[in-house]
């Protein structure tokens, strides 16, 4: 039995979950349907309310 975690979806939520778990020392398998991770947020130009860059 393994203690790995599977994360489905490589948008901002999936990436954050994966990073938290990986930083805790847990092996994460991150599955993304598209060729690259990033999700919808990668498509955004800037974000409210600080107008920071999205990526």
């Amino acid at each position: 039995m393994s203690k790995d975690i599977l994360v489905i979806g490589g948008g901002i939520a999936g990436m954050q979950s994966s990073l938290d778990l990986a930083d805790m020392g847990i092996k994460v398998h991150l599955v993304e349907k598209l060729p690259s991770i990033g999700g919808k947020m990668a498509q955004l130009d800037k974000t409210f309310p600080t107008n920071d860059c999205a990526i």
């Binding site: 039995m1 393994s2 203690k3 790995d4 975690i5 599977l6 994360v7 489905i8 979806g9 490589g10 948008g11 901002i12 939520a13 999936g14 990436m15 954050q16 979950s17 994966s18 990073l19 938290d20 778990l21 990986a22 930083d23 805790m24 020392g25 847990i26 092996k27 994460v28 398998h29 991150l30 599955v31 993304e32 349907k33 598209l34 060729p35 690259s36 991770i37 990033g38 999700g39 919808k40 947020m41 990668a42 498509q43 955004l44 130009d45 800037k46 974000t47 409210f48 309310p49 600080t50 107008n51 990526i55």
Partner: protein
Amino acid sequence: MLDVGRHPNIELLAYSEVEKVEGEAGNFKVTIRRKGRYVEEDKCTGCGACAEKCPTVVSDAFNEGLGERRAIYSYFAQGIPSTHTIDADHCRQLNGKKCGICAKTCQAEAINFDQEDRILELDVAGIIIAAGYDVFDPSVIPEYRYREIANVVTAIEFERLLSASGPTGGHMDRPSDRAVEAEIAGLEKKAKKSQKAISKLEEKFNEPSAQFYKKYQAGEYKDDEDRKKWADKYTAHLAVTEPLEELKKQAEGFTVAKRLAFIQCVGSRDFRFYPFCSGYCCMHSIKEAIISHEHEPETTSSIFGMDIRAVGKGFEEYKIRGGNNSNITYVRGRVAEITEGPDNNPVVIYEDTRERKVKRQEFDMVVLATACAPIKGIAELAKTLGVELDKYNFIKTSSLSPVDSTTPGIFVCGCAESPMDVPESVAQASSAAERAAEIAFQMDLEKEKAVA
């Protein structure tokens, strides 16, 4: 994103899908299909030389179809992994035609047209669903005439137009104007060709075509075959250049979009589609209006909606600031109808409910703040995983266990659970990580026990 790509504890399985899940919390067996990219991941350096040479042009999904990419491509410029992918539907080589230019270009020898899907089996203790959402397709709302009126776009399309790395380089060029410019480019290409043809003849007969053509029309050169050909070529040339000149004249008047309308609740708070509120769209529109104003200080924006839901930290202040500094007018009233006025300008018709008056207002561009729709394929994924959905097809949770699905060991975060903005998604993602970690560490504790 970069951190995810290079974290030693993260195995990134992009271009992959979950096919089968068996087992229970603490002991899931998962089958994953890694779709063939026709590019070897370990060889591709992501340099992009292949895409530069690829002859096949395809509409670009990342830019919401507003731009173009090649049949071999990286999903977006900074995408992780930077491994390129061949789009099998469009690749010439994979569709039985002679090509293989990418393979010749690639010095890393990463192209492999024989690559097949691979099946991967994993043992995992827990699963987190972060499958995201879909942008609602507003073409099902007849009164908004999205797709019929070129300058009516969705918020995410507008986002790509705003983006410096987007198809317009961040200029607010209107889709109708871009279509004309594309047509001009096409005609110019043709005109160049036909110009070449007649230039040759002009040289041969040492006479400008226009002058010759007048004589030809007057009936000179009746039985001259060569001159008939010339006349034909000249008329063909005129058939290209005349509309070209007209379009060019039209294009002279093009400027960037400066009068913007943002329409809230497109598909949300609408019993016909999604009765819920999508949560982030009000702020998204305000942001787009503010950024547009930063790009072009003459920009004015009207945001049409019912309640402007600026509920997050700093949001109400942001909204007020937008009104004061970025020429944003908030109109209370849901837009009833969009029609097309002169110069491809969309015209919105609405009741200003505070003034209780029906108004018509012309804009350069209209942006639809579309609903956060459950992602396509969520029902199949839920079935594969054995989790329940709520009545709208989001993954079902409860208030006191906000990231637990109905199946132990499977958690959810982000817009797969319900519509939410970025900070909420991030916070929820950490919550899901916490719940998943509880299971993973329990496995550890049990292992320790077993050893002892």
